[in-house]
């Protein structure tokens, strides 16, 4: 008997993936086979066959061949579909430039094939998340949230000094964070690699003045600046197909416990407890996720001292293990059930 097939794209170190797979195995009684593509294991080859009678797409990994039409469901968690990279040796400046452009050409060719496979994965399988979710545009989401009537922090994206200065005069404290990726990893010539990134950074009027004082035209990059939002609670909300799993993080413990001095102590992590969102907030967030085409994701919000729910961002492939464990939420089981039901419905 042929087992049902589930394709999981993830990284080998992602603990959440293993937890969900444990549930999947338990719920299905082992009646399915998992094909796991990890970012560390390349697809060895791809073959697409198309004519007026049939279409077949086959991916070959190190140890197996996988026909897309045999898959029952798919879970995109981490990583990218990628083929073995062609290598170019750079000897001098000229061949370096040639190699660079050849590289771009080759990448574009490969992308067409990989995207085609992605689109087909979406078409033929019950899919939880897509690779495209990973690159979702932060500004699109902020705009969408604002249009749906969800509070967002006052936001500026600019590389214009004057605009930043004016914004800084309006808000004594700003935050800035990356628009695209949070961090990138750069391989080093000799050994290993470095990971570079900055996370969310607070800036104040003095920082802006320093920037402003530096001579020259526009700033090097258009960047995201947002008004700093005062917190009563931080909310981390996992969303899955219309259901909400919210967690409140008491990061401002002093306000509620009236303990006004806190040392950072790993034995006393911030309190993280289950939370119940007001119904109107749920409704708007649900609309946001649906408009954005996201079946699941982690939403970051702030509850302000004035009881306003402010939307910060959605991480479509965020970690939810921390949230599930602290709140005893059955997220792993629900994802497994979602993937299993996917093929029952067909």
């Amino acid at each position: 008997m042929n087992k049902k097939k589930l394709l999981v794209q993830s990284s080998s170190t992602d603990a959440s993936t293993n937890d969900v797979l444990d549930w999947l195995y338990y719920l299905s009684g082992g009646d399915y086979a998992v094909v796991r593509l990890n970012d560390t294991g390349y697809i060895r080859s791809v073959t697409v066959q198309m004519n007026n009678r049939e279409q077949r797409i086959c991916l070959a990994t190190q140890d197996r061949e996988l026909y897309l039409d045999e898959l029952d469901s798919r879970w995109y968690r981490r990583g990218r579909l990628s083929l073995p990279a062609a290598t170019f040796t750079k000897t001098d400046a000229e061949t370096f430039a040639l190699a660079l452009h050849t590289r771009r050409y080759v990448d574009a060719e490969t992308d067409v094939v990989c995207n085609f496979i992605e689109n087909n994965l979406d078409r033929y399988t019950a899919s939880l998340n897509r690779q495209a979710d990973d690159g979702i545009n932060k500004l699109d989401l902020l705009q969408l949230a604002a249009e749906l009537g969800i509070s967002i922090p006052d936001t500026l994206v600019t590389n214009e000094r004057q605009a930043l200065l004016a914004f800084g005069l309006k808000y004594p404290m700003l935050v800035t964070k990356s628009l695209g990726r949070n961090a990138f990893t750069c391989p080093l010539e000799q050994a290993g690699s470095v990971k570079l990134g900055m996370g969310t950074v607070l800036i104040n009027a003095a920082d802006i003045n320093t920037l402003y004082a530096a001579a020259g035209g526009p700033l090097a990059l258009p960047a995201l600046y947002q008004q700093y939002v005062d917190k009563q609670l931080e909310l981390r909300i996992f969303y899955l197909d219309g259901a909400f799993y919210p967690m409140a993080i008491f990061s401002q413990a002093d306000a509620r416990t009236r303990v006004d001095f806190r040392h950072y102590d790993p034995a006393r992590p911030n309190r993280c407890v289950p939370y119940q969102l007001p119904e109107p907030v749920e409704r708007k967030l649900d609309a946001l996720m649906q408009h954005a085409g996201l079946t699941s994701g982690s939403v970051d919000m702030i509850l302000t001292p004035d009881n306003d729910y402010v939307f910060l961002e959605v991480n479509p492939v965020g970690q939810f293990q921390w949230l599930a464990r602290n709140c005893n939420y059955d997220i792993d089981r629900q994802i497994a059930a979602y993937l299993l039901n996917g093929y029952d419905d067909e």
Binding site: P269, R271, V273, P274, Y275, Q276, C327, Y329, A336
Partner: protein, 362 residues
């Protein structure tokens, strides 16, 4: 109108009432706080304490001082926080469900030295039961080559963690071997070497290392189990929710004794077939195998009155009254009626009872 002020326990801080006193189990920070029953009684079933109301009704200065001391303690330890009546419904309680995706959560496999009972097919049977955690207990010196072959087999299986008990002698206590094992087999979570010579009885536990190696002088046997002491308490969500609904020692456990017989617990007399002729999945479905799985501490004498009942590991193998399968574990020296503790083995009566178990097995 005055807004009613509440003191609300964080959802992960769960109070449990005992005969003499209560505890607040902090399941997030894995801590236990003993508190007087009078404090427990101030909270309603949803963990709420009506602050303004209490302050109004406790006008006596002495009572009021005690009340304020309680409140100060709860806030200082961050066990509770202040909120208004209107906000309270935003903070639901923690789900009491035990979430564990396995038919068998872990398996103890005993052996004297090498054994023919552990093979690829057995590991596959365990995989089918979603059993991802195995403890091997070798009571005599084990052949190094054989053990490494076994660990190679496990390295390729779905098993996630292995706990090893080895007998000193031959290679096991030689300097360096434990390190090599740990370096080569990443699934080994902890390694205990028993029967070490007095001169070598160094605690090998490395502070800060998540995969400790312990050397102990005692020679261990299956009788070395069931000891209940505060440092074995597990104030965390999985253990607490399991204990609410199931037996905290026997639920979803499986063991294979040194002779190859299948058991729920290695220290209990009942066997359910031999691995040579019984599939594990069939053994656990035999009548009696799961007999104690749903026996909670709420049904066990003395324990049912104990404030530690949901963070304490039970034991059904060694009982205070050997003929009463709902009596308190023998190897517990805690008395919830006086809230005092003594070493279980210091009681002559308990020693005599343990002697009875020792005779049974010899």
């Amino acid at each position: 109108m005055v807004m009613e002020e509440l003191l609300l326990l964080y959802a992960c801080c769960i109070p449990v009432r005992g005969a003499r006193r209560s505890v607040i189990c902090d399941l997030q920070r894995a801590q236990v706080f003993p508190v007087p029953n009078s404090l427990y009684d101030l909270f309603d079933a949803r963990g709420r304490l009506r602050l303004s109301q209490l302050r109004r009704s406790n006008t006596d200065t002495a009572d009021r001082a005690v009340l304020e001391e309680y409140i100060g303690f709860l806030l200082r330890e961050e066990l509770a926080f202040l909120c208004s009546e209107a906000e309270a419904p935003r903070f639901p309680r923690l789900s009491r469900e035990w979430l564990y995706p396995a038919v068998i959560s872990n398996c103890i496999i005993d052996a004297r030295h090498t054994t023919a009972h552990i093979h690829a097919d057995l590991l596959e049977q365990l995989a089918a039961l979603c059993c991802n955690h195995i403890q091997f207990r070798f009571f005599e010196t084990v052949d190094r080559y054989w053990l490494e072959q076994l660990l190679d087999l496990i390295a390729q299986s779905q098993v996630k963690s292995v706990s090893l008990l080895l007998r000193a002698g031959a290679d096991a206590d030689s300097e360096g071997w434990p390190d090599q094992l740990l370096a080569r087999y990443l699934k080994i979570q902890n390694l205990t070497i028993h029967g070490c010579k007095a001169s070598q009885c160094i605690a090998w536990a490395r502070p800060g290392q998540a995969r400790p190696v312990w050397a102990v002088m005692e020679v261990l046997s299956a009788l070395h189990c069931g000891v209940i002491a505060p440092h074995y308490f597990s104030p965390n969500i999985p253990a607490f929710t399991e204990a609410l609904h199931y037996n905290s020692c026997l639920n979803r456990k499986l063991s294979i004794d040194a002779a190859g017989y299948i058991r729920n617990c290695p220290s209990m007399p009942a066997t359910f077939g031999h691995v040579d002729d019984t599939r594990l999945a069939d053994a656990i479905r035999q009548p009696g195998f799961q007999q104690y799985w749903t026996l909670t501490k709420d049904e066990i004498a003395v324990c049912r009155d104990c404030e530690f009942r949901y963070i304490c590991t039970d034991c059904r193998a060694y009982l205070e009254e050997p003929d009463n399968d709902r009596s308190k574990p023998l190897k517990c020296g805690y008395d919830p009626y006086t809230a005092t503790c003594q070493d279980w083995s210091s009681s002559l009566l308990r020693q005599a009872t343990f002697g009875h178990y020792q005779q049974q097995t010899s």
